[in-house]
Amino acid sequence: MRRITFLLLLFCFAALTSMGGGYQVGLHSTRNTGMGLIGTSLTYDASSIFYNPGGVSFIKDKWSLSGGVSLIMARVTFQGKDENYQTHLEHQLNTPFYVYASYKATDNLSIGLAVNTPYGNGLSWGDNWQGRFLIQNLKFQAITVQPTISYKFKNIIGVGVGLVWAYGSVNLNKALPLDYTGGEGQLNIKGNTIGFGFNAGVLIHPVKGFNIGIDYRSKINMDVQNANATFTVPAAVRPQFPDSKVEVSLPLPANLDFGLSYEINEKFMIGINLCYVFWKQYDSLVFNFKTKTASLGRTATAALYQNRLIPRIGFQYKVNPTVTVRLGGYYDPSPVPSDYLNPQTPSTNEIGLTAGLSVFPFKGFSIDAAFLYLMGMKRDGTYSPENFAGTYYSAFYIPAIGLSYSF
């Protein structure tokens, strides 16, 4: 019975896509997902490599390993403005993941490696929807690998830095208003690239149970030099739209995180986090076609994102040595101005509510589960350069599962 309900749930949400303000993904530890995605001041496991390299040296165990995956199920409804039109985002699968390993080389020095997916966006509105001349479907993902070193002084201050190597891939389709008998034009852009950045953090541990964390993750430029642009157009206009190499640039914005956490007693912990995202770095999406014609050249699609502050709060309660439960919440304001709201990234202000659970079958090993419900606020917006207006209303259901092992 229970299994069937679970299957039904999966079916209902069978399709998963990206979440959240812009194209940043906050799901980097199932444990942290359970408590409002806080993490900057925590040192419980190797996820600190991502959340705050300064905290890695505070991890108690010699080895800490953790890995997990989230299933993002997006439900987004669009209604055209002044038009009798409604549609839903097509259901598809997006699965951000993480794998971390940290090693305590000496009492004060630790090293670690993180592999995760901090940025991404995947959505499909369908081939024939009203906004198809802006976007039909899009899959963009950045996988980062971050070797990290962390050192702590006198058990009070830890500093750490990691080099971030990012592999990004993009695949997008949009329709072109060039009609032929039985169809219309089509553009596919597909490519990948690598980029570099860094992640540096400080963790301060002034008194027992109390942690302060500050972390800065730099911007990473994803500059796809040689993406392939493939056009499907009527033969008569083919010379204007030759298949071409195209340069696509997308910045992955920097983040500045500040976190506090306090262990009130052996069982209860409370933490808050302030995350400042430098979204302003995403000013426009640039496509530079290498084969130039009168119709093809360099186009900059204005994005004009704004910097945003995300406040988060989380709680953890150790019920007994084998069960830990978590709760959390946060507010993620959309970085997208209302006159630049693009169906490529239908971003709205969101409230996230989270719950999590860890079960320790034996000491050091835990099975972690979390559920994040992200409630989008209904939002009217126009993408003015294309005069595409409408109302977006979204909800995200994100179950996450992970394993952690420390010894």
Binding site: Q79, G80, E83, N84, G131, P177, A236, N387, T391
Partner: protein
């Protein structure tokens, strides 16, 4: 019990999947759309690509409006449908619609251009049913009050209920509650299409009198509605596609020999490499042998000018056989004086339409301003489609350069809907422009 709970639970899960936005609620405001009729000319009839054809009618501006009005109590909208998709045109000559095709020009260069489609033409004959769309290709304002107009215009013959009556007498028979009117364009356009060399601009007094009777007969039925004013012809690609200085000389030796030839005829025109003005006839020309001059900015060459003559026979410069100056014939050119007359008449007619609309509480669709915007550098952007008034590439005008594509009609229908909503406080949703095609390429 357990099973029931299970079903309820799963239903609840499914319904909670999608986020609900309340659907667009259309509202008729103070208007009554139950019987809608449209009055006017070819722009109303669904004429496109130089002919009246089946799909052109399906995507006629009033038919698209009617589809939206049906969301707020509008009834069926009957058009005098042509069955053939090759359609029929009676001018110039009886022929089929235009399509984009590949043809070799006089120089043997194969290129893309509008060509007549090959297929069975529609045979004219009365459709035998009452219609809501009174769009009559070629109709001028006063034609609608002319008794026996069905005997003069074969398009009207197709749906006239009387061969001797006037069009205005038909309106009452269908008991309309609502109308849209787009009439008066041909009162200047017919003259402009003829290059100002035949046909004539309607006298303002006649125009006023005719429009007053047409509008009066509509209002007498108890219907309310909106009417459109007349676009400036210089917003239309038929007049703007070929520039006045479209004569391009590619080599200096060519320019030199043209200059030499002109000097022999004592014509003081100077030709350079690059664009040069075409030659036109001018009776007032001071030159002794040839009454010609070069075209000036603000003058227009019509799209119907014989392209082969321009390209290969020296039209607009020097006849390749006789080596005499070869002006473009009058009927393919609008001179400064003709343009001034057309602009003046357009202003006068639009004043009449604006005043009449205001006085009779009829909504106004400012098509003149709308087409000026369409013809501007930025054009019109709608749901990611960029439209402008350029021929073929602009997407709004069909292959005759005068009438609209389905996509252009959708835009035009939205201008009507905008005016209807404004005037009647109604909430009629816009036509989804992305559903309709622009120019179809091979």
């Amino acid at each position: 019990m357990k099973k029931l709970l299970f079903i309820i639970l799963s239903l609840a899960l499914f319904t909670s999947c999608e986020r609900k936005i309340s659907e667009y609620a259309a509202d008729k405001g103070t208007a009554n759309f139950s019987t809608y009729i449209s009055i006017g000319n070819s722009l109303v009839a669904g004429y496109a690509d130089g002919a009246l054809y089946h799909d052109g009618q399906l995507y006629s501006c009033p038919n698209l409006i009617a589809g939206q009005l049906q969301l707020a109590g509008g009834g069926a909208f009957i058009q005098p449908m042509v069955t053939s998709n090759y359609g029929v045109a009676v001018y110039p000559g009886v022929q089929t619609k235009l399509v984009l095709g590949y043809t070799a020009d006089c120089q043997g260069v194969v290129g893309l251009s509008p060509v007549r489609s090959v297929g069975d033409m529609e045979i004219f004959g009365n459709v035998g049913y009452a219609v809501n769309n009174f769009g009559i290709p070629g109709a001028k304002s006063f034609h609608l009050i002319t008794p026996g107009y069905a005997q003069m215009n074969p398009y009207y013959t197709r749906f006239a209920t009387s061969m001797t009556g006037a069009v205005v007498e038909e309106f009452g028979k269908v008991h309309p509650t609502f109308f849209t009117m787009q009439l008066g364009d041909n009162d200047v356009l017919a003259y402009a299409l003829a290059g100002g060399s035949y046909d004539s601009i309607t006298q303002p007094a006649t125009f006023y009198y005719a429009m007053k009777i047409v509008l009066g007969s509509l209002l007498a039925t108890g219907a309310s509605g909106v009417m459109a004013n007349i676009p400036d012809i210089t917003s239309i690609p038929f007049f703007t596609t070929i520039p006045y200085n479209g004569l391009v000389l590619t080599r200096q030796t060519l320019a030199d020999s043209v200059n030499y030839a002109m000097s022999l005829y004592q014509l003081p025109f100077h030709y350079v490499v690059g664009p040069n003005p075409f030659l036109v006839r001018d009776p007032a020309s001071p030159h002794p042998y040839f009454k010609v001059r070069q075209m000036q900015p603000g003058e227009y060459v019509l799209m119907t000018v014989p392209q082969d003559s321009l390209k290969c026979k020296g039209m607009g410069i020097i006849n390749v056989v006789t080596h005499a100056p070869y002006p473009i014939p009058d009927q393919f050119v609008l001179t400064t004086a003709e343009v001034a007359q057309i602009k003046f008449a357009t202003d006068v007619f639009n004043n009449i339409i604006d005043t009449m609309a205001a006085n009779h509480h009829v909504g106004l669709v400012d098509m003149n301003s709308k087409l000026k915007i369409l013809n501007s550098q930025s054009g019109v952007v709608w749901d990611g489609i960029h439209l402008n008034a350029k021929f073929v590439t602009g997407g709004a005008f069909s292959l005759d350069g005068i009438h609209l594509t389905p996509r252009g009609n959708a835009l035009s229908a939205n201008y009507f809907i905008e005016a209807i909503n404004q005037h009647f406080g109604s909430k009629i949703p816009y036509v989804d422009v992305t559903k309709y095609k622009g120019v179809v390429f091979p």
